[in-house]
Point group: C2
Chain length 392, copies 2
């Protein structure tokens, strides 16, 4: 009775639900403290102290829960633009920013604005697979091209996939699930290639930079700017990870003021933010994040977990590249079989996500945004699974 | 460069933007206090006192800003279900409820779940025209049928519009823009007709009841239940109007547990809530409204404004039906020309919305959720416009 497409989606996404259900069963049976859940990118760190004080201060004002313009409060957009100008090394004004319901809201408003029926959007694996749904929502489809062995994007591969149907390329750096930060020379090369190809095919190929993990980076790394290196670029991001508030749904889209068809682009995003039913980003959270530009959780907390996890797993023979950002570790599945490895770990009450969920079935993902005791508690299980997999 | 469809939408919706811009110009030129803005359904009443105390209490808990299940917190869903059970005279459990980003978010998740490409959704005029976009978002289209002279829906007209392509009928009571509350016998007749037609065409025609104004009613009226009278019905609603918090984007969808294809329907709505990029309804607002079931702003405040406005306009010869709910008054445009009347009022610095924005070009809408001084201040202008229109 319901939409055929949604019915199919529920069937094909059932393995994720099965994973989730198995996890819930394990927790019910053995107690949540005896199950080691590395499956969700749900930031564990508490929001920074000043998030709470600003939130309480803003919540005390009873007069500000009404509608505002669909793009958000003008003063909030201005503050967001000022900070983003530094990150992107490009002067932005509040007019270039649309406040959204998280990065998911921003991506959907942007994709709806750009896509004609049958258009394609290119992403490089490994990548966040919700993009597939987001493109499909608006009559387009996602085309996956393999990234490099070191999880950097392969600009030539992307170039090879561009056709007259290509509306956009999506990148995600720091990357979920690999933790890779794409180097500045790669962004420069990508921008050059997109400019050249756009002119070749007679159609602007926009670059969508999905960057909610920009502040979650380690070892003194800085995430290079994107708007500086390509005019037809749009940032989609959120405060979910850096402020540890993913349930609150607050983020933004920022459009390069030098983009082609700029007026239609920004007004289209504002219109789509409205007609997709978002209407506007949640009011109280807009007013709160405005005062917290540049603030983030204690990154050191995640760094310690990364190092503890990576150190332990390395000893056992697991193979991976140390992530430069995010709270994910993408690990090679012994024998290249992600489902088998995820299953072996499940027998140890360890929940992880098979790499096929990110377009790389020879890997599995460990989300290390977990409670204090989860990593040490899981180490024996990781070792036993490695033994069973024949690694030791 | 952007999507053709979005480009067209921006062009066709430009008259609304022009209205908005004219309003902004007038305010800039004459001062906001000298412009009488009746154009927006932005509730003026402050949120009830206990909204603020509950919000502050919930905001003090630093640990609850993370992701929760896409359908919302289980305890919130349970509390919402309990209250909705009373309103709908149908026993609901938390499992039947999906927390959403306002009614707009609920409608989009529900329509995406139901619609196959080319499907239609029927609505009765006058109605909220965003439905058109919401259907279009998901490959469907809105079919408008005229309501009765007294703004009640015409069940026979709806029946006549049902084809094998019909996925759903949307009703909105209390109605924006007419303020009409559809009587219980109409809902009963609608349910019977939909059951009969569904069996005739061999396809379940779902009933979507969009009811964010359920608590904004006057003169002791109660809005009749919908789930009680039709099994294949879904409620979409929000706390925007009754708590005066439309900027916060909090609402829900509730599915009749006796609906056909129930499991796919509820799971589809949860999936669509996720993949449309909403992910989940804002966390803090979920936890807040859970404690405020049945609470609403002081309705008497709106009743006073309704009576003041209606009393004044009646004397001047304006024709309308007294609204039983909402904060809208739908007034006949002299000569049946909404644009002309709206323009005459604009000359008096009075902003209203032409009826064609709701499918009834012979009317114009006055939103009376305005500041204390706006109604008295506008009375002379309304009188002069009536004179110019030849009513006096």
């Amino acid at each position: 009775m319901i939409s055929k497409r949604i019915n199919e989606m529920m069937e094909t996404s059932s393995f994720i639900r099965k994973m989730f259900e198995t996890g819930s069963e394990l927790k019910a049976k053995y107690g949540a403290e005896n199950v080691f859940d590395f499956s969700l990118g749900n930031p564990h760190a508490l929001p920074p102290e000043n998030f709470n004080s600003v939130l309480l201060e803003k919540a005390a004002d009873k007069t500000r829960h009404a509608y505002m313009p669909n793009a958000g409060y003008p003063d909030v957009r201005q503050k967001v633009a000022e900070f983003a100008s530094t990150e992107q090394q490009k002067v932005l004004s509040g007019d270039n920013v649309v406040m959204t319901s998280g990065a998911g809201g921003a991506l959907n408003a942007v994709l709806k604005t750009l896509l004609n029926p049958g258009d394609t959007v290119i992403a490089s694996t490994p990548c966040f697979m919700e993009y597939k749904f987001y493109c499909d929502n608006h009559g387009g489809s996602l085309v996956l091209v393999p990234g490099k062995k070191d999880f950097n994007i392969d600009v030539e591969n992307i170039e090879g996939a561009i056709t007259e149907k290509t509306a956009a390329v999506i990148i995600n750096s720091p990357n979920n699930p690999s933790g890779r930060v794409y180097p500045e020379e790669t962004i420069i090369a990508l921008g050059r290639m997109l400019k050249k190809k756009s002119s070749e095919i007679g159609r602007t190929v926009y670059l969508i930079s999905d960057e909610p993990y920009r502040k979650i980076v380690y070892d003194g790394i800085t995430v290079p700017p994107v708007l500086k290196h390509y005019n037809n670029a749009i940032i989609c991001t959120s405060y979910s990870k850096d402020l540890s508030i993913p349930g609150e749904r607050i983020g933004y889209a920022a459009v390069n003021p030098d983009a082609e068809d700029y007026d239609n682009l920004i007004n289209g995003i504002i219109l789509c933010n409205r007609i997709l039913g978002y209407v506007n980003a949640p009011a109280l959270m807009q007013r709160t994040i405005a005062e917290l530009q540049g603030v983030s959780v204690d990154i050191n907390l995640y760094k310690k977990k990364r190092d503890m996890l990576a150190g332990g797993l390395k000893e056992m023979g697991y193979e991976f590249r140390i992530p430069e950002g995010t709270f994910y570790l993408l690990v090679k599945a012994p024998g290249g079989d992600d489902m088998k490895m995820v299953d072996l770990l499940l027998q140890e009450k360890i929940l992880t996500v098979p790499g096929r969920g990110f377009g790389v079935p020879e890997y599995f993902r460990i989300a290390f945004c977990v409670d204090e005791n989860v990593i040490p508690g899981a180490m024996d299980g990781f070792r036993r699974a490695a033994e069973k997999a024949g690694m030791l």
